[in-house]
Symmetry: C2
Subunit: 92 residues, 2 copies
Amino acid sequence: MSDSLLSPAEIKQQLAKTPSWQIVNGELTRNFECADFRAALAFVNKVGGLAESAQHHPDIDIRYNKVRFALVTHSAGGLTKKDFDLAARIGS
Amino acid sequence: MSDSLLSPAEIKQQLAKTPSWQIVNGELTRNFECADFRAALAFVNKVGGLAESAQHHPDIDIRYNKVRFALVTHSAGGLTKKDFDLAARIGS
């Protein structure tokens, strides 16, 4: 099941496949730097499409040309395969 | 000058014209709740257009259907008329 909480060992395994992401306060996060605000917004729209397809939505913080995504499965109370699957689609 | 720091009295005056906004940690902020993620993203794009026109960009936090904007003029080290002008255009 993609919504089951992952064990610490499973999280470690998944992280090895998404090395650009890191766990901060229990969430799977990644920061991106784009050319400018317009490029950042275009990127957020692209990720928004992936999120809608997955029906799983990261928290998104936009700071001019910088974008931060944070993934966690609130319904499961922690990290699940869904978080790592979407992270990999955003960019592993 | 729209980039001059506003005095406390001027801030009070401006806030009276943008009553839906509040100052939190020195920034002019407002939270919006949209129907869903897709609507939130559409709204962020609309505000992104206003920001590009003004060449002034709020910090933007997206939490599924909730969006938070925070405005401050970093170059001036505080709130200026630019912040209130953009706030009014987003929605007073």
